[in-house]
């Protein structure tokens, strides 16, 4: 790889003349963005933001949802061509009109939302837009395959390069995006929440990649809402709030509290409000036993083998595991998202036998799901906030056979206020909201169905600390009122702080269950990686285990 090839032939330190507070950093200034402004119709997304990145530095950007982080980086990557302000690369002013220009300048960006072509293979996606060619002018498949295999190995994936992306899991896709960024001759790499879909092991792997790139002199811009990650990987932090530049700090010697107060504008003390539930768990809301799910590679669906899970009223149960462990599948199977014939086992809902039939049936029975992939599974992006938020609960707003706009508006605007969804109005298209605010719309949609059992798959994915605190608060409240919550999260601290019990999955099997207080990060990780226990036997054998029972009420 030609990564960082040219670094040592360019100008000395500070040639960029950045207006940001000059601070000791690892190298010369490689990227300087000055007084960047950007307005969308009706929204001022950025007003005079500065950003400086040095060679070999990991510069984090921090800000609440909708602060303008992605917009700033999209400008750098050429997504938006009409903006105000200057950008200099290695001290040379550049005008970036298109993703192509950005690519030529050695800027690569991993976008907040996955941007792969599902029907194309991994290798085709990695080289999309820069396919190597043979002297005859045809694309050079051999070179592509070789390089792709290497790039995938670099990010820790052992996938065959010719597999269609559609068949890859979300986390794998995220890492493919990273591999794709690596294939350019890099000067600046922007990562917009690359870890939001990754579990701990993959995050480690990503950090290794980041450190190696930084070592080669690449400037890295890192956006994340997981503050603990910043401690570990970032050299400096630039904070934005409401599209304005708030300040820049070196990571060393800056406290988390300080960053949070810069970001939110006020100190924020209690991130995890939940202590032991005072009343103790109530009656059983759901009991899942021997849940089997036939895997389906074509749909990127993992198999489940005899999963058992119990959640009581007032309880928050966590599901932990590595990517592909089957956490999402467990939730979706209970929710009835899979064809009935793929699911076997016994489910009891509030003591009664329950056959997961369809999402519609689930909603009617007071079950709600916050799905993992908001763009693909939860939102109609071109439609409005109001439309999306009320979609699952329209029945509640009926009056004389029609949907009462007034009731609907009142309910949704209540949600917008409560969840602090930052939107210009109820009729704004959801696609125009920032990622975190989109996630909040998904939450609003679920809550409006008034569920008694809430299945949450990475509910705080892409959500800022302030909003996270609000969501934790909300979950606590919901549990306090007698809802049962089953939550999947790849952030162990979140699970440890929020859950009464944590069930650990590995390869579609439950490998451990911890009560609150018993669980530690290490114990959970151990159980999550307990592949030996699962794979000690022939991996194919259990899938044909005769213990399968058909749930039938037909």
């Amino acid at each position: 790889m030609a990564v960082g090839r040219e670094i040592h032939e360019t100008q000395p330190d500070n040639a960029g003349g950045s207006s940001a507070p000059a601070a000791p950093g690892p190298g010369r200034v490689i990227l300087a963005m000055n007084a960047i402004t950007k307005t969308f119709p009706g929204v001022r997304a950025l007003s005079g933001v500065d950003l400086t990145v040095r060679a070999g530095e990991v510069a984090a950007i921090l800000g609440e949802n909708g602060a303008g982080k992605s917009t700033l980086m999209n400008i750098l990557a050429g997504v938006f061509s009409d903006y105000g302000g200057d950008i200099a690369l290695d001290g040379v002013p550049v005008a970036i009109h298109s993703p192509k220009t950005a690519q030529h300048l050695g800027i690569a960006m991993i976008h907040q939302e996955l941007n792969l072509v599902p029907d194309m293979s991994i290798v085709d996606n990695i080289f999309l837009g820069r396919e190597p060619r043979t002297p005859r002018g045809t694309i050079d498949r051999k070179t592509m395959d070789e390089q792709a295999t290497r790039l995938l190995a670099e990010v820790g994936l052992a996938l065959p390069p010719r597999r269609p992306v559609r068949q890859c899991r979300v986390a794998e896709q995220q890492l493919i995006e990273v591999a794709k960024a690596l294939s350019a001759s890099l000067r600046v790499l922007v990562m917009d929440e690359p870890t939001s879909a990754l579990a701990d092991a993959e995050v480690r792997r990503l950090f290794t990649v980041i450190r190696r790139l930084a070592g080669q002199g690449v400037g890295i811009v890192y956006i994340s809402h997981r503050l603990e990650e910043l401690d570990e990987i970032a050299d400096s932090v630039t904070v934005l709030r409401d599209g304005a530049y708030i300040g820049r700090r070196e990571m060393a010697g800056t406290t988390r509290a300080e960053l949070i107060s810069m970001m939110v504008g006020r100190p924020l003390d209690e991130l995890f409000p939940r202590s032991d539930s005072p009343a103790g768990p109530g009656e059983e809301v759901i009991r899942v036993e021997d849940l089997d799910l036939a895997g389906d590679r074509r749909e990127g669906r993992a198999a489940l083998h005899g999963v058992r899970l119990v959640a009581r009223a007032g309880e928050i149960v966590g599901l932990a595991g590595l990517m592909g462990a089957g956490r999402s599948e467990t939730l979706e199977a209970i929710y009835g998202a899979f064809p009935r014939r793929a699911v076997h086992g016994s489910v009891r809902l509030r003591g009664r036998r329950y056959q997961p039939r369809s999402p519609r049936h689930a909603i009617r029975n007071g079950i709600a799901l916050v799905a993992e992939d908001r763009k693909a599974q939860s939102l109609v992006l071109t439609n409005s906030v109001r439309f999306n938020a009320s979609l699952a609960a329209l029945g509640r707003f009926m009056r004389r056979g029609t949907v009462s706009a007034a009731r609907e508006r009142a309910a949704v605007s209540g949600m917008v206020t409560d969840l602090r969804i930052k939107t210009p109005g109820l009729n704004t298209a959801v696609g125009n909201l920032s990622g975190g605010n989109q996630q909040k719309v998904v939450l609003a949609k679920c809550l409006l169905t008034e569920p008694s059992l809430i299945l949450m798959d990475e509910p705080t994915r892409g959500i800022d600390v302030g909003a996270k605190a609000e969501i934790y608060q909300l979950m606590t409240e919901l549990a306090g009122r007698g809802s049962a919550i089953v939550m999947v999260s790849s952030e162990l601290p979140e699970l440890l702080a929020m859950c009464d019990r944590i069930v650990v999955l590995c390869e579609g099997r439950v490998t451990a269950e911890f009560r609150r207080g018993e669980a530690t990060q290490e114990a959970i990780l151990d159980a999550a990686m307990d592949r030996q226990a699962v794979l000690g036997v022939d991996p194919a054998a259990p899938s044909r285990a005769p213990a399968r029972r058909e749930v039938s009420d037909e």
Partner: protein, 405 residues
């Protein structure tokens, strides 16, 4: 289950609802911009202005407009059904054939069974709906692309139609022994034979004692009913959701299979409803009636602002699209433009009408035009740059993310 209100919702439900209902102005704002914005009507307005300028009196009189709209009414009704299908990201190429078979069935029922129109019209609707059901089932259950399903259905239905009629058109003006129209046949005429109006006795607003031309009324009623269905009912929401993101719709509890089957059934039902109108209009059912009407219907839908990718569009938009097409025809015809020139002009004007409707017109045409646009807007509006803030309808997201097909 109703006891499970979250704290958040309960806090919200009560306060912001206005006490006495909304004002007329608010209501108007709610109705007019169904197309996304008033811009959607520009194309129509331009056509009307062109008609008034070139043929003033001849164009802008009730008779001419009735004739023009009446000629298109059956296709306009098809377009309403087509809108539903297109909103779910499907397409129905069979509506023209369905209209054809319904028109044939209506004529045969009149001629051979001597039924009255209150029997004929519902029966035709049932016929249309049954074929629509077959379309929907093949699309939603067998999961074949609707283009293929309905293209096949187009041929199948046309074949049946031609077999039924033995390739000969069936006249609906039946003469009895005294050389006069039979009563049932005379009754059938009010379904659309030019000059036969309904409610002729009453002093009606706008149309006076001349009465109302049934095809126009039928179109208006269908438009109103289905616009309300789309905007007010749960089912309407579900249609938009299925077209916008089927997975999300399913996970939100929408029965996507049902919705998809239902839209095809409704499209068939409406084609069945339009069939007798077409038969009455021509005073006969031709075995080829309705051929290529589907293209007119689809054109009306997309000119009306709907996206073939699903999830975006409205019935009022389709009405506007229909009116643009039919009035354009009328204006060009009244101006005695030659047939070949008409083809060319019509094509160009349709493009123009669609371009004009684009909300980001100025942006799309590049910076130079944008600068011009800014100049104009600065003069017209007070505060520049807040164009969309107050607009009551969601402006569909466009430039970077949207795909135009």
């Amino acid at each position: 289950m109703s006891s499970r209100t979250t704290p958040a919702t309960r806090r919200a439900l009560a306060p912001s609802e206005p006490p006495g209902g909304r004002s007329l102005r608010t209501r108007l704002r709610g109705v007019l911009p169904v197309l996304g914005s008033l811009q959607g009507y520009i194309g129509l307005v331009l056509v009307v202005v062109a008609g008034m300028l070139t043929k003033g009196q001849v164009f802008w009189n009730q008779q001419n407009l009735t004739n023009a709209v009446g000629a298109f009414a059956s296709r306009g009704i098809l377009a309403v059904g087509e809108t539903l299908v297109i909103l779910t990201a499907g397409i129905d190429l069979s509506v023209g054939s369905l209209l054809g078979i319904a028109s044939m069935v209506s004529a045969l029922l009149l001629v051979h069974q001597n039924l009255n129109i209150y029997e004929i019209v519902p029966l035709c609707m049932v016929v249309g709906a049954l074929f629509g059901l077959a379309n929907g089932a093949a699309t939603a259950l067998l999961r074949i692309q609707s283009f293929v399903v309905t293209l096949a259905m187009l041929n199948v239905v046309r074949g049946i139609d031609r077999m039924l009629s033995d390739n000969v058109s069936v006249g609906t003006q039946l003469i009895n022994a005294h050389g006069q129209l039979t009563p049932r046949s005379a009754q059938f005429q009010v379904l659309g034979t030019p000059g036969h109006n309904i409610l002729t006795g009453l002093p009606l607003p706008f149309v006076g004692r001349a009465g109302i031309y049934y095809p126009v009324l039928a179109l208006v009623v269908v438009v109103v009913v289905f616009q309300l269905l789309l905007s007010k009912s749960k089912f309407g929401r579900h249609i938009y959701a299925v077209g916008g993101n089927e997975t999300a719709a399913r996970l939100s509890g929408v029965n996507t299979t049902y919705v998809k089957i239902a839209v095809f059934m409704l499209a068939g039902l409406l084609a069945g409803f339009a069939g007798p109108i077409d038969a009455a209009y021509s005073a006969s059912a031709d075995p080829l009636a309705g051929s290529s009407y589907e293209l007119d219907a689809i054109a009306a839908v997309v000119i009306g602002g709907a996206s073939l990718a699903g999830g975006r569009g409205s019935i009022v938009g389709t009405l506007v699209g229909s009116l643009i097409l039919t009035l354009l025809d009328n204006v060009l015809g009244l101006n005695a433009i030659s047939d070949n020139a008409q083809l060319i002009i019509k094509g160009l004007i349709v493009i123009l009408a669609v371009v004009i409707q684009r909300p980001d017109l100025f942006r799309a045409l590049g910076p130079s035009v944008r600068r011009l646009g800014r100049l104009i807007r600065n003069r017209a509006d007070d505060p520049p740059g807040k164009a969309e803030v107050g607009s009551p309808q969601p402006q569909p997201a466009t430039p970077p993310l949207e795909e135009s097909r």
